[in-house]
């Protein structure tokens, strides 16, 4: 857990730029450590409206600079997008569970839209382990950071980039998937994660899924982020956001 010495928890923004239409990558100073899969809670406004912090996956942390990648979907993220290098941002964290694939063996990364963020962080910390990345999105504009992975397979729903269709199509064809040696790390929309969970069960692969839910606090006290798992009701911000395949009892 990291807090600024003055308890105001303000971090200086190093850079912020629009990487794709409506998608921003922001870098800010961060003096603690964090592990891939974890997230931070960002305060988007100086005052109390919007009130609650916004959860963002950590997309990288190197030399005291943390990066996040976010999509503008509402007021909070629109305010974040207005911040510039030199501004300060109030950050708390890191929170949540981390990706823990086995010590050896190939890893397959599956990201949907903004879900590539934590996978990018994992890949940077474990470069030789990532056998391939599979990145999906609605359109070409929603495919992020593809050039930062060495072997990458892309799918878009409208076919504007890579294969037309869902990202699970190139995934299940990959040799490391087909020979069942691959360990899956996936992050993205709930529908995609559920599909991967079901495929993994059917095809006998194991892996981890990073889920998303609205969060009131991010550190386990509001109980606003629970999900049901084979191990009972869990808080997504403390016992998650990373869960093992086969663990989540999908709501619908």
């Amino acid at each position: 857990m990291w807090f600024g010495a003055d308890k105001t928890m303000k971090s200086k923004i190093v850079s912020s730029r629009e990487v794709k239409r409506g998608y921003f990558r922001m870098e800010f100073e961060f003096s603690g450590d964090a592990a891939p899969g974890q997230f931070v809670m960002l305060k988007v406004a100086e005052h109390n409206d919007p009130l609650l912090r916004r959860p963002m996956s950590i997309a990288g942390l190197e030399n005291g600079v943390m990066s996040v990648i976010f999509k503008v979907v509402g007021r909070g993220t629109a305010l974040l997008a207005e911040k510039r290098a030199g501004d300060h941002i109030d950050v708390i964290g890191p929170f949540g569970t981390v990706f823990t694939p086995p010590q050896t063996g190939p890893v397959l990364l599956v990201g949907g839209g903004i879900g590539v963020a934590p996978l990018l962080f994992w890949m940077k910390r474990n470069p030789p382990r990532a056998a391939a990345a599979f990145i999906g999105g609605a359109t070409e504009n929603d495919i992020l950071c593809a050039d930062e992975f060495s072997e990458v397979h892309i799918a878009t729903e409208n076919g504007s980039h890579g294969r037309k269709g869902l990202v699970t199509a190139p995934l299940v064809e990959h040799p490391v998937y087909r020979d069942k040696t691959g360990y899956l790390l996936a992050c993205g929309p709930t529908g995609m994660l559920k599909a991967i969970d079901q495929l993994a069960a059917k095809d006998g692969l194991r892996g981890e899924l990073s889920l998303e839910e609205r969060m009131g606090c991010g550190f386990g006290v509001c109980l606003g982020c629970v999900c049901d798992t084979t191990g009972g009701r869990k808080r997504m911000c403390v016992e998650g956001p990373v869960f093992k395949t086969g663990e989540v009892l999908w709501r619908n």
Partner: protein, 305 residues
């Protein structure tokens, strides 16, 4: 250094800044983010005899300057609280107010008896904003005569421990409820719990909360809370603990001036986990700067007329 100590029933608090139930977990989640010994006390998540899984998701949403929740009183239950949480809580050196509720009058009495006897619990806070299953689901805190009877029975079970009764604001007039607590022998009143509210996602035309209604909290409710606290203060002689939307030192001062002996901070703990500690420090600095020797001298100093 001003005298910040305040007394609530038999309980002496080192300062009047407390954290509110349901916004501070079991007090353990904040370790590393603030020093729990620096605040007056913390109120546990509402406890019941049996563990509760709470309501279905989604159960929180943000609103202008606030949020709505319908957690459904999810908690680990009093047994697990005693064996799994309390040993660690005792080690923190925190002052612990156990918040509790029940589905029946008998549940309330038994929960109070268990918690009052528990090592490390300093006082009890009874949440009466819950449906009474014996009475067709009307809230325990919805009928003054019943509230008085319940308070008396629970006070007896609390065996000398300070009993705070936390009032619901979802009534036409809070004053008869404040009197009911006093007449029933309650040591103090805390007010307010969350206000009933609702929010709709216009894109999907669905309620943002699965149960449709939830409890509104945060800065948005402060003026309503302040008014109700003031009404309670005017009605009873027992101490009143002010709750609702507190986010700054000025908010704390408003409640104290209105007559609250202490305050609880709720939703803002989510936004700024160290806020209670900060407010206690700021209150101290304020008193010193203003030449106020004891914080109790501020209480009820509203100038009217």
């Amino acid at each position: 250094m001003a005298e910040l100590r305040v007394r609530i029933g038999a309980l002496e608090l080192k300062n009047p800044i407390l954290s509110a139930s349901g916004t501070f977990g079991y007090g353990l989640e904040f370790s590393g983010m603030m020093d729990i010994r620096k605040i007056g006390a913390f109120c546990t998540k509402g406890l019941s005899l049996k563990p509760r899984a709470g309501n279905q998701m989604p159960r929180i949403c943000e609103t202008p300057g606030g949020m709505i929740n319908s957690i459904g009183l999810e908690n680990v239950g009093i047994d697990a609280f005693e064996t799994e949480k309390m040993p660690a809580i005792r080690k923190t050196g925190a002052t612990v107010i156990a918040n509790f509720f029940g589905d029946t009058e008998a549940d309330y009495i038994e929960a109070a008896r268990r918690l009052a006897a528990m090592d490390g619990v300093h006082a009890l806070e009874m949440n009466v904003s819950c449906p009474n299953v014996d009475k067709g689901g009307i809230e325990f805190g919805g009928d003054p005569a019943f509230l008085e009877k319940l308070t008396a029975a629970v006070k007896k079970a609390a065996a000398g421990k300070t009993l705070i009764v936390k009032l619901s604001p979802n009534v036409a007039d809070i004053r008869p409820f404040a009197s009911a607590v006093e007449n029933g022998g309650g040591d103090a009143i805390s007010a307010i719990n969350t206000l009933k509210g609702m929010s709709i996602d216009v894109k999907t035309r669905r309620p943002k909360i699965k149960r449709v209604f939830g409890g509104l909290s945060g800065p948005a409710i402060k003026p309503v809370a302040l008014k109700m606290v003031y009404e309670c203060v005017k009605t009873v002689k027992i101490p009143v603990i002010g709750i609702g939307g507190i986010a700054s030192l000025d908010d704390v001062l408003e409640f104290l001036i209105a007559g609250a002996s202490a305050v609880q901070v709720g939703t803002m703990n989510f936004v700024e986990p160290s806020i209670c500690q900060r407010l206690a420090e700021e209150l101290n600095v304020y008193c010193d700067r203003e030449g106020i020797a004891r914080v109790s001298a501020l209480v009820g100093t509203l100038r009217t007329g």
